[in-house]
Symmetry: C2
Subunit: 162 residues, 2 copies
DNA sequence: CGCTATTATGTAGGTGCCTACATATTGTCA
DNA sequence: TGACAATATGTAGGCACCTACATAATAGCG
């Protein structure tokens, strides 16, 4: 038994990160094997742009559940790679409308089999891990109901009572 | 239902990361409320040094399940903060022996109640999320048995057969 | 219409980990 | 004993996100 496991619940944050990093690294490796330069964070944005053709930074952020800053930064590297274009929205100069370029669409088509394989691998792993995905949903819900910070503070106050 | 949940298993890596980041941020906030400057990554190293008094970079890396590079970098910021000292091992000049300083011990003592509160909060969340910690262990085991990369490749080959 | 509040997105710097590569030390073997 | 393999740790750069702060545009109100 290694350290994270020996620590029970306390190492949960660290374990989540390491699992995430491991999965990301494996995905990167898969792209690399196909000879494709691809940033993992592009997937969410590209997938959304495939589904809806155009979207603003804010819309993507909301849809993906990340900050607008992350979307903005991702957008910049996507543009640099020629996969996405960004233009001001006609009805509101603050908004930037993002679209896949033809090259972006080609890339997505090319990666479709790989993304399918990702899906299959992920479902397999979910089954092997006793339904981790449903548990993640529950964890997200639990933290939305009461954040770790709030919980920590409650226990800290209790300790202070002694 | 937001995007990560709507994507089922495929967004597992991203979800793990976001949960991890959220928990880290909450922990950071708790330290901040106590007026303590503390890096989350210090916890694992400091806890080990409390338990065993001295340890090498390699030992800590193995115990914590992270790379020696991460330990080395953490050690450097801990030293800079005056919480840890590092000296060459008497029996092997390559090895660096790390120890908590008196200041490091004081810091740990001071944080004990907070770490206790972390533990309690984490166990609470584990219970609320239907035993996520055990599922994480199963996920770790599943990925050790067959990595995401290997699984992706298997499915990719299958797709190629069509 | 002018002012203020709100909204949209960008810049800067940071987090905790990783891989690739590098250097120095120790161990082993002929 | 010397050469080479193995071991220990460090440097550099990267990843995908975050918060704080900033600027510009729009909405709303008197």
């Amino acid at each position: 038994m290694d350290y994270p496991q020996s620590q029970g619940a306390r190492a949960i944050g660290a374990r989540l990160r390491r699992l995430s990093d491991a999965i990301d690294a494996d995905a990167a490796r898969a792209y690399s094997v196909l000879g494709v330069r691809f940033e993992q964070r592009w997937f969410g944005v590209m997938n959304q742009l495939l589904e809806r053709e155009a979207a603003t930074v804010g819309q993507l952020a909301e849809a993906l559940g990340i900050t607008h800053v992350s979307v903005s930064q991702t957008r910049q590297s996507l543009e640099k790679a020629g996969l996405v274009t960004a233009e001001a929205d006609p009805s509101d100069a603050r908004k930037r409308r993002l679209r896949l370029t033809a090259e972006g669409r080609d890339m997505a088509a090319r990666l479709r089999p790989l993304w399918r394989a990702f899906d299959a691998a992920a479902e397999e792993v979910d089954a092997d891990a006793g339904g981790i995905v449903a548990r993640l949903s529950e964890l997200e819900k639990a933290l939305k109901q009461a954040s770790m910070f709030e919980r920590i503070m409650v226990h800290l106050d209790k300790a202070g009572d002694r």
